[in-house]
Protein backbone atom coordinates (compact mmCIF):
# COMPACT_ATOMS: atom_id res chain seq x y z
CA UNK A 1 0.00 0.00 0.00
CA UNK A 2 2.96 2.32 -0.52
CA UNK A 3 1.03 4.14 -3.23
CA UNK A 4 -1.19 5.61 -0.54
CA UNK A 5 1.51 6.71 1.82
CA UNK A 6 1.70 10.20 0.38
CA UNK A 7 -1.79 11.09 1.64
CA UNK A 8 -1.91 13.19 4.77
CA UNK A 9 -4.80 14.26 6.87
CA UNK A 10 -5.61 17.91 6.13
CA UNK A 11 -5.51 20.49 8.89
CA UNK A 12 -8.72 21.44 10.70
CA UNK A 13 -8.61 24.93 9.24
CA UNK A 14 -8.26 23.58 5.71
CA UNK A 15 -11.27 21.28 6.08
CA UNK A 16 -13.26 24.03 7.78
CA UNK A 17 -12.72 26.55 4.98
CA UNK A 18 -13.33 23.93 2.30
CA UNK A 19 -16.69 23.15 3.93
CA UNK A 20 -17.65 26.84 3.97
CA UNK A 21 -16.60 27.20 0.35
CA UNK A 22 -18.63 24.15 -0.63
CA UNK A 23 -21.83 25.48 0.92
CA UNK A 24 -21.36 28.94 -0.56
CA UNK A 25 -20.78 27.42 -3.98
CA UNK A 26 -23.90 25.28 -3.61
CA UNK A 27 -25.94 28.32 -2.58
CA UNK A 28 -24.55 30.35 -5.46
CA UNK A 29 -25.47 27.63 -7.97
CA UNK A 30 -29.05 27.61 -6.67
CA UNK A 31 -29.59 31.34 -6.77
CA UNK A 32 -33.39 31.20 -6.61
CA UNK A 33 -33.19 29.64 -3.12
CA UNK A 34 -30.78 32.40 -2.18
CA UNK A 35 -33.37 35.09 -2.87
CA UNK A 36 -36.24 33.47 -0.91
CA UNK A 37 -35.47 34.80 2.60
CA UNK A 38 -34.63 38.25 1.24
CA UNK A 39 -37.85 38.53 -0.73
CA UNK A 40 -39.84 37.29 2.27
CA UNK A 41 -38.09 39.84 4.51
CA UNK A 42 -38.89 42.74 2.20
CA UNK A 43 -42.51 41.64 1.70
CA UNK A 44 -43.25 41.28 5.41
CA UNK A 45 -41.72 44.66 6.26
CA UNK A 46 -43.44 46.47 3.40
CA UNK A 47 -46.86 45.04 4.35
CA UNK A 48 -46.86 46.86 7.68
CA UNK A 49 -47.37 50.39 6.30
CA UNK A 50 -50.07 48.98 4.01
CA UNK A 51 -51.79 46.75 6.53
CA UNK A 52 -51.53 48.65 9.80
CA UNK A 53 -50.96 52.34 9.24
CA UNK A 54 -48.85 54.53 6.97
CA UNK A 55 -48.70 57.10 9.79
CA UNK A 56 -45.17 58.36 10.18
CA UNK A 57 -45.09 58.40 14.00
CA UNK A 58 -46.53 54.88 14.24
CA UNK A 59 -44.01 53.51 11.75
CA UNK A 60 -41.06 55.25 13.38
CA UNK A 61 -41.86 53.75 16.79
CA UNK A 62 -42.53 50.25 15.48
CA UNK A 63 -39.76 50.13 12.85
CA UNK A 64 -37.16 48.28 14.92
CA UNK A 65 -39.66 45.67 16.05
CA UNK A 66 -41.00 45.13 12.55
CA UNK A 67 -37.55 44.73 11.02
CA UNK A 68 -36.45 42.34 13.77
CA UNK A 69 -39.59 40.18 13.62
CA UNK A 70 -39.34 39.99 9.83
CA UNK A 71 -35.63 39.06 10.01
CA UNK A 72 -36.44 36.38 12.58
CA UNK A 73 -39.23 34.89 10.47
CA UNK A 74 -37.11 35.01 7.30
CA UNK A 75 -34.34 33.09 9.07
CA UNK A 76 -36.84 30.60 10.46
CA UNK A 77 -38.11 30.00 6.94
CA UNK A 78 -34.63 29.17 5.67
CA UNK A 79 -33.66 26.85 8.53
CA UNK A 80 -35.35 23.72 7.22
CA UNK A 81 -33.02 23.73 4.22
CA UNK A 82 -29.83 23.94 6.26
CA UNK A 83 -29.24 20.17 6.42
CA UNK A 84 -32.19 18.81 4.41
CA UNK A 85 -30.50 18.53 0.99
CA UNK A 86 -27.38 16.96 2.50
CA UNK A 87 -29.53 14.50 4.41
CA UNK A 88 -31.50 13.47 1.36
CA UNK A 89 -28.60 12.93 -1.02
CA UNK A 90 -26.36 11.20 1.51
CA UNK A 91 -23.77 13.98 1.84
CA UNK A 92 -24.57 14.15 5.55
CA UNK A 93 -23.61 10.49 6.02
CA UNK A 94 -20.28 11.21 4.38
CA UNK A 95 -19.84 14.23 6.66
CA UNK A 96 -20.51 12.13 9.77
CA UNK A 97 -18.05 9.48 8.54
CA UNK A 98 -15.25 11.90 7.67
CA UNK A 99 -12.24 11.78 9.93
CA UNK A 100 -12.55 15.44 10.97
CA UNK A 101 -14.67 16.29 14.02
CA UNK A 102 -18.28 16.77 12.96
CA UNK A 103 -18.78 19.98 14.97
CA UNK A 104 -16.15 21.75 12.86
CA UNK A 105 -18.02 20.90 9.66
CA UNK A 106 -21.32 21.85 11.29
CA UNK A 107 -19.90 25.21 12.35
CA UNK A 108 -18.78 25.74 8.75
CA UNK A 109 -22.30 25.03 7.52
CA UNK A 110 -23.78 27.43 10.08
CA UNK A 111 -21.40 30.20 9.04
CA UNK A 112 -22.23 29.59 5.38
CA UNK A 113 -25.94 29.75 6.27
CA UNK A 114 -25.41 33.09 8.00
CA UNK A 115 -23.45 34.49 5.07
CA UNK A 116 -26.22 33.43 2.69
CA UNK A 117 -29.27 34.48 4.74
CA UNK A 118 -28.10 36.72 7.61
CA UNK A 119 -25.82 39.12 5.77
CA UNK A 120 -28.33 39.98 3.01
CA UNK A 121 -30.93 40.78 5.71
CA UNK A 122 -28.45 43.02 7.53
CA UNK A 123 -27.58 44.82 4.31
CA UNK A 124 -31.24 45.32 3.42
CA UNK A 125 -32.20 46.64 6.84
CA UNK A 126 -31.04 50.31 6.35
CA UNK A 127 -33.16 50.60 3.20
CA UNK A 128 -36.21 49.20 4.96
CA UNK A 129 -35.71 51.36 8.03
CA UNK A 130 -35.70 54.46 5.82
CA UNK A 131 -39.01 53.25 4.39
CA UNK A 132 -40.34 52.90 7.94
CA UNK A 133 -39.17 56.43 8.91
CA UNK A 134 -36.81 55.12 11.55
CA UNK A 135 -34.81 57.96 13.15
CA UNK A 136 -31.55 58.30 11.20
CA UNK A 137 -29.58 58.53 14.44
CA UNK A 138 -30.61 55.06 15.66
CA UNK A 139 -30.34 53.32 12.30
CA UNK A 140 -26.77 52.39 13.12
CA UNK A 141 -27.91 50.77 16.36
CA UNK A 142 -30.47 48.63 14.54
CA UNK A 143 -27.74 47.64 12.08
CA UNK A 144 -25.44 46.63 14.95
CA UNK A 145 -28.11 44.59 16.74
CA UNK A 146 -28.79 42.68 13.52
CA UNK A 147 -25.07 42.18 12.98
CA UNK A 148 -24.71 40.58 16.40
CA UNK A 149 -28.15 38.97 16.51
CA UNK A 150 -28.53 37.21 13.15
CA UNK A 151 -25.54 34.85 13.70
CA UNK A 152 -27.31 33.74 16.89
CA UNK A 153 -30.41 32.96 14.84
CA UNK A 154 -28.35 30.72 12.52
CA UNK A 155 -26.48 29.08 15.40
CA UNK A 156 -29.51 28.22 17.53
CA UNK A 157 -31.56 27.39 14.46
CA UNK A 158 -28.98 24.79 13.42
CA UNK A 159 -29.83 22.73 16.51
CA UNK A 160 -33.50 22.67 15.58
CA UNK A 161 -32.71 21.92 11.93
CA UNK A 162 -30.39 19.08 12.94
CA UNK A 163 -32.95 17.54 15.27
CA UNK A 164 -35.76 17.58 12.73
CA UNK A 165 -33.87 16.78 9.52
CA UNK A 166 -34.88 13.13 9.64
CA UNK A 167 -38.57 13.93 10.00
CA UNK A 168 -40.98 14.63 7.19
CA UNK A 169 -42.83 17.36 9.07
CA UNK A 170 -39.65 19.19 10.06
CA UNK A 171 -40.69 22.71 9.12
CA UNK A 172 -43.38 23.35 11.72
CA UNK A 173 -41.52 21.51 14.44
CA UNK A 174 -38.40 23.67 14.04
CA UNK A 175 -40.46 26.80 14.68
CA UNK A 176 -41.95 25.33 17.84
CA UNK A 177 -38.57 24.12 19.10
CA UNK A 178 -36.51 27.17 18.26
CA UNK A 179 -38.80 30.17 18.69
CA UNK A 180 -38.57 30.28 22.52
CA UNK A 181 -34.79 30.55 22.22
CA UNK A 182 -35.07 33.35 19.68
CA UNK A 183 -37.13 35.55 21.99
CA UNK A 184 -34.21 36.85 24.14
CA UNK A 185 -32.34 37.84 20.96
CA UNK A 186 -35.42 39.67 19.74
CA UNK A 187 -36.03 41.44 23.07
CA UNK A 188 -32.47 42.70 23.44
CA UNK A 189 -32.26 43.60 19.76
CA UNK A 190 -35.33 45.83 19.79
CA UNK A 191 -34.54 46.97 23.35
CA UNK A 192 -31.24 48.47 22.21
CA UNK A 193 -32.98 50.50 19.49
CA UNK A 194 -35.71 51.65 21.89
CA UNK A 195 -33.08 52.74 24.42
CA UNK A 196 -31.15 54.65 21.77
CA UNK A 197 -34.35 56.35 20.58
CA UNK A 198 -35.08 57.67 24.05
CA UNK A 199 -31.53 58.90 24.42
CA UNK A 200 -30.43 56.31 26.95
CA UNK A 201 -27.36 54.10 26.83
CA UNK A 202 -27.83 51.08 24.59
CA UNK A 203 -24.41 49.45 25.06
CA UNK A 204 -25.68 47.13 27.80
CA UNK A 205 -28.19 45.58 25.38
CA UNK A 206 -25.49 45.03 22.81
CA UNK A 207 -23.25 43.47 25.45
CA UNK A 208 -25.94 40.99 26.42
CA UNK A 209 -26.56 40.18 22.76
CA UNK A 210 -22.82 39.67 22.36
CA UNK A 211 -22.79 37.34 25.36
CA UNK A 212 -25.64 35.32 23.86
CA UNK A 213 -23.68 35.13 20.60
CA UNK A 214 -20.58 33.81 22.36
CA UNK A 215 -22.59 31.23 24.28
CA UNK A 216 -24.33 30.06 21.10
CA UNK A 217 -21.05 29.99 19.19
CA UNK A 218 -19.46 27.71 21.77
CA UNK A 219 -22.38 25.38 22.45
CA UNK A 220 -24.55 25.05 19.37
CA UNK A 221 -22.05 23.38 16.97
CA UNK A 222 -21.68 20.54 19.49
CA UNK A 223 -25.41 20.26 20.09
CA UNK A 224 -26.18 20.34 16.37
CA UNK A 225 -23.47 17.76 15.61
CA UNK A 226 -24.86 15.41 18.26
CA UNK A 227 -28.37 15.90 16.89
CA UNK A 228 -27.19 15.17 13.34
CA UNK A 229 -25.61 11.89 14.42
CA UNK A 230 -28.96 10.83 15.87
CA UNK A 231 -30.83 11.94 12.74
CA UNK A 232 -28.46 10.05 10.45
CA UNK A 233 -28.72 6.88 12.54
CA UNK A 234 -32.39 6.41 11.70
Amino acid sequence: MTEFNGLQKPGLRQSFFAAIKRDLLLAFRRRQDLANPMVFFVIVVSLFPLGVSPDKSFLATSAAGVVWVAALLATLLSLDGMFRADYEDGALEQMVLSSQPLFILVLAKIIAHWVVTGIPLILLSPVLSIMLHLDQAVMGVLFLTLLIGTPVLSLIGAIGAALTVGLRVGGVLISLLILPFYIPVLIFGTGAVKAAESGMSFEAYLSIQGAILMLALVLSPFAAAAALKISVAN
Binding site: M1, F4, N5, L7, Q8, K9, P10, Q14, S15, A18, A19, K21, R22, L25, L26, R29, R30, D86, E88, D89, G90, A91, L92, E93, Q94, M95, V96, L97, S98, S99, Q100, L105, V232, A233
Partner: protein, 210 residues
Protein backbone atom coordinates in the same frame (compact mmCIF):
# COMPACT_ATOMS: atom_id res chain seq x y z
CA UNK B 1 0.79 -5.43 10.38
CA UNK B 2 -0.53 -6.80 13.61
CA UNK B 3 -1.79 -10.30 14.15
CA UNK B 4 -5.38 -9.32 14.95
CA UNK B 5 -8.28 -9.68 12.58
CA UNK B 6 -9.15 -6.53 10.71
CA UNK B 7 -12.77 -6.53 11.79
CA UNK B 8 -14.57 -8.82 14.15
CA UNK B 9 -18.30 -8.76 14.87
CA UNK B 10 -19.56 -10.47 17.98
CA UNK B 11 -23.19 -11.39 18.59
CA UNK B 12 -24.77 -8.54 16.65
CA UNK B 13 -28.54 -8.29 16.80
CA UNK B 14 -30.89 -5.86 15.21
CA UNK B 15 -34.60 -5.29 15.59
CA UNK B 16 -36.54 -2.81 13.49
CA UNK B 17 -40.23 -2.02 13.71
CA UNK B 18 -40.73 -4.99 16.07
CA UNK B 19 -39.18 -7.35 13.53
CA UNK B 20 -35.98 -9.22 14.25
CA UNK B 21 -33.63 -8.68 11.29
CA UNK B 22 -30.72 -10.70 12.57
CA UNK B 23 -29.63 -12.16 15.87
CA UNK B 24 -26.34 -13.37 17.34
CA UNK B 25 -24.51 -12.57 14.14
CA UNK B 26 -20.78 -13.12 14.48
CA UNK B 27 -18.11 -13.05 11.81
CA UNK B 28 -14.47 -12.30 11.27
CA UNK B 29 -12.95 -10.36 8.41
CA UNK B 30 -9.27 -10.72 7.66
CA UNK B 31 -7.08 -8.49 5.55
CA UNK B 32 -7.40 -9.37 1.88
CA UNK B 33 -10.87 -10.86 2.23
CA UNK B 34 -14.05 -9.88 0.42
CA UNK B 35 -17.32 -10.42 2.20
CA UNK B 36 -20.58 -10.40 0.30
CA UNK B 37 -23.68 -9.90 2.41
CA UNK B 38 -26.59 -11.70 0.78
CA UNK B 39 -30.27 -11.88 1.47
CA UNK B 40 -33.70 -10.99 0.10
CA UNK B 41 -35.01 -7.41 0.15
CA UNK B 42 -35.68 -6.28 3.68
CA UNK B 43 -33.36 -8.86 5.22
CA UNK B 44 -31.28 -6.14 6.87
CA UNK B 45 -28.27 -5.93 4.56
CA UNK B 46 -28.18 -2.14 4.49
CA UNK B 47 -28.85 -1.99 8.22
CA UNK B 48 -25.93 -4.32 8.89
CA UNK B 49 -23.60 -2.27 6.69
CA UNK B 50 -24.67 0.97 8.34
CA UNK B 51 -24.05 -0.64 11.71
CA UNK B 52 -20.58 -1.79 10.67
CA UNK B 53 -19.69 1.66 9.39
CA UNK B 54 -20.75 3.24 12.67
CA UNK B 55 -23.64 5.24 11.24
CA UNK B 56 -26.14 3.26 13.29
CA UNK B 57 -25.61 2.56 16.97
CA UNK B 58 -25.52 -1.06 18.07
CA UNK B 59 -27.89 -2.07 20.81
CA UNK B 60 -26.49 -5.54 21.21
CA UNK B 61 -23.17 -7.05 20.33
CA UNK B 62 -19.71 -5.73 19.84
CA UNK B 63 -17.44 -4.69 16.98
CA UNK B 64 -13.68 -5.00 17.17
CA UNK B 65 -11.31 -3.15 14.85
CA UNK B 66 -7.75 -4.54 14.87
CA UNK B 67 -8.79 -6.35 18.04
CA UNK B 68 -9.87 -3.19 19.86
CA UNK B 69 -13.45 -2.28 20.70
CA UNK B 70 -14.83 0.15 18.13
CA UNK B 71 -15.78 2.70 20.78
CA UNK B 72 -12.09 3.21 21.56
CA UNK B 73 -10.96 3.55 17.95
CA UNK B 74 -12.91 6.66 16.96
CA UNK B 75 -11.08 8.59 14.25
CA UNK B 76 -8.64 5.75 13.51
CA UNK B 77 -11.48 3.63 12.22
CA UNK B 78 -13.08 6.50 10.29
CA UNK B 79 -9.89 7.36 8.44
CA UNK B 80 -9.36 3.71 7.49
CA UNK B 81 -12.91 3.03 6.36
CA UNK B 82 -14.77 4.15 3.26
CA UNK B 83 -18.53 3.80 3.19
CA UNK B 84 -20.57 4.17 0.04
CA UNK B 85 -24.30 3.82 0.51
CA UNK B 86 -27.39 3.87 -1.70
CA UNK B 87 -27.24 7.62 -1.39
CA UNK B 88 -23.82 8.69 -2.55
CA UNK B 89 -23.75 12.32 -1.45
CA UNK B 90 -23.08 13.54 -4.98
CA UNK B 91 -24.30 17.12 -5.39
CA UNK B 92 -25.97 17.51 -8.76
CA UNK B 93 -25.20 21.23 -9.06
CA UNK B 94 -21.48 20.57 -8.60
CA UNK B 95 -19.15 18.97 -11.14
CA UNK B 96 -17.59 15.53 -10.47
CA UNK B 97 -14.30 17.30 -9.81
CA UNK B 98 -15.84 19.65 -7.23
CA UNK B 99 -17.70 16.79 -5.61
CA UNK B 100 -14.50 14.80 -5.20
CA UNK B 101 -12.54 17.88 -4.10
CA UNK B 102 -14.95 18.73 -1.28
CA UNK B 103 -15.40 15.10 -0.27
CA UNK B 104 -11.66 14.65 0.14
CA UNK B 105 -11.20 18.03 1.86
CA UNK B 106 -12.33 16.63 5.21
CA UNK B 107 -10.32 13.41 4.83
CA UNK B 108 -6.91 13.83 3.23
CA UNK B 109 -4.84 16.39 1.39
CA UNK B 110 -4.52 15.65 -2.34
CA UNK B 111 -3.39 17.58 -5.37
CA UNK B 112 -5.84 18.46 -8.13
CA UNK B 113 -4.03 16.20 -10.61
CA UNK B 114 -4.65 13.21 -8.36
CA UNK B 115 -8.37 14.03 -8.30
CA UNK B 116 -8.49 14.33 -12.08
CA UNK B 117 -6.58 11.07 -12.36
CA UNK B 118 -9.08 9.31 -10.09
CA UNK B 119 -11.99 10.60 -12.15
CA UNK B 120 -10.31 9.38 -15.33
CA UNK B 121 -9.77 5.93 -13.84
CA UNK B 122 -13.43 5.95 -12.90
CA UNK B 123 -14.41 6.48 -16.53
CA UNK B 124 -15.29 10.17 -16.33
CA UNK B 125 -12.45 11.48 -18.45
CA UNK B 126 -13.73 14.55 -20.29
CA UNK B 127 -16.65 15.02 -17.88
CA UNK B 128 -14.65 16.25 -14.88
CA UNK B 129 -16.04 19.76 -15.17
CA UNK B 130 -19.56 19.04 -16.38
CA UNK B 131 -22.23 19.65 -13.72
CA UNK B 132 -23.53 16.32 -12.42
CA UNK B 133 -27.17 17.14 -13.23
CA UNK B 134 -26.34 16.85 -16.93
CA UNK B 135 -24.68 13.46 -16.42
CA UNK B 136 -26.50 10.12 -16.44
CA UNK B 137 -27.31 8.19 -13.27
CA UNK B 138 -24.50 5.78 -14.06
CA UNK B 139 -22.00 8.60 -14.55
CA UNK B 140 -23.06 10.16 -11.25
CA UNK B 141 -22.49 6.79 -9.59
CA UNK B 142 -19.04 6.68 -11.21
CA UNK B 143 -18.31 10.14 -9.78
CA UNK B 144 -18.93 8.66 -6.34
CA UNK B 145 -16.90 5.53 -7.15
CA UNK B 146 -13.91 7.73 -8.03
CA UNK B 147 -13.47 7.99 -4.23
CA UNK B 148 -12.35 4.37 -4.26
CA UNK B 149 -9.35 5.30 -6.40
CA UNK B 150 -8.48 8.16 -4.13
CA UNK B 151 -8.96 6.78 -0.66
CA UNK B 152 -6.19 5.12 1.33
CA UNK B 153 -8.86 3.29 3.39
CA UNK B 154 -8.18 -0.31 4.38
CA UNK B 155 -11.82 -1.29 4.51
CA UNK B 156 -14.45 -0.52 1.89
CA UNK B 157 -18.09 -0.90 2.80
CA UNK B 158 -20.11 -0.78 -0.41
CA UNK B 159 -23.88 -0.93 -0.35
CA UNK B 160 -25.26 -1.81 -3.80
CA UNK B 161 -22.26 -0.22 -5.49
CA UNK B 162 -23.06 -1.90 -8.81
CA UNK B 163 -26.36 -0.05 -9.23
CA UNK B 164 -26.82 1.97 -12.44
CA UNK B 165 -23.36 1.40 -13.92
CA UNK B 166 -22.94 -0.34 -17.28
CA UNK B 167 -21.46 -3.78 -17.90
CA UNK B 168 -17.99 -2.46 -18.53
CA UNK B 169 -18.21 -0.40 -15.34
CA UNK B 170 -19.24 -3.47 -13.38
CA UNK B 171 -16.24 -5.38 -14.72
CA UNK B 172 -13.93 -2.51 -13.81
CA UNK B 173 -15.39 -2.21 -10.32
CA UNK B 174 -14.94 -5.93 -9.80
CA UNK B 175 -11.33 -5.55 -10.84
CA UNK B 176 -10.72 -2.73 -8.36
CA UNK B 177 -12.28 -4.79 -5.61
CA UNK B 178 -10.04 -7.71 -6.51
CA UNK B 179 -6.99 -5.44 -6.60
CA UNK B 180 -7.94 -3.93 -3.26
CA UNK B 181 -8.08 -7.36 -1.68
CA UNK B 182 -4.82 -8.39 -3.34
CA UNK B 183 -3.15 -5.29 -1.87
CA UNK B 184 -4.21 -6.31 1.64
CA UNK B 185 -7.43 -4.33 1.92
CA UNK B 186 -10.85 -5.73 2.70
CA UNK B 187 -14.24 -5.15 1.15
CA UNK B 188 -17.72 -5.73 2.51
CA UNK B 189 -20.41 -5.40 -0.13
CA UNK B 190 -24.00 -6.12 -0.94
CA UNK B 191 -25.14 -6.78 -4.45
CA UNK B 192 -27.80 -8.85 -6.12
CA UNK B 193 -25.61 -9.74 -9.02
CA UNK B 194 -23.02 -12.47 -8.64
CA UNK B 195 -19.53 -11.03 -8.82
CA UNK B 196 -16.63 -12.76 -10.54
CA UNK B 197 -14.59 -15.26 -8.60
CA UNK B 198 -12.12 -13.83 -6.21
CA UNK B 199 -9.57 -15.94 -4.43
CA UNK B 200 -10.65 -15.00 -0.93
CA UNK B 201 -14.38 -14.52 -1.25
CA UNK B 202 -16.89 -15.20 1.48
CA UNK B 203 -20.64 -15.02 1.84
CA UNK B 204 -22.84 -13.97 4.70
CA UNK B 205 -26.48 -14.89 4.31
CA UNK B 206 -29.13 -12.88 6.08
CA UNK B 207 -32.81 -13.60 6.32
CA UNK B 208 -32.74 -17.39 6.76
CA UNK B 209 -34.31 -17.23 10.18
CA UNK B 210 -37.73 -16.22 8.95
Amino acid sequence: MNDHYLLEARELSCEREDRLLFENLSFILNRGEILQVEGPNGAGKTTLLRMLSGLMPMHEGELLWHGEPMSQCGDDFLSEMLFLGHKTGIKTVLTPFENLRFWSASRFAVADEVLIDSLEKSGLGGFEHTPCHSLSAGQQRRAALARLHLSPATLWILDEAFTAIDKQGVDELEQWIGMKAAAGGSVILTTHHRPAHYSRFRHLKLGDSR
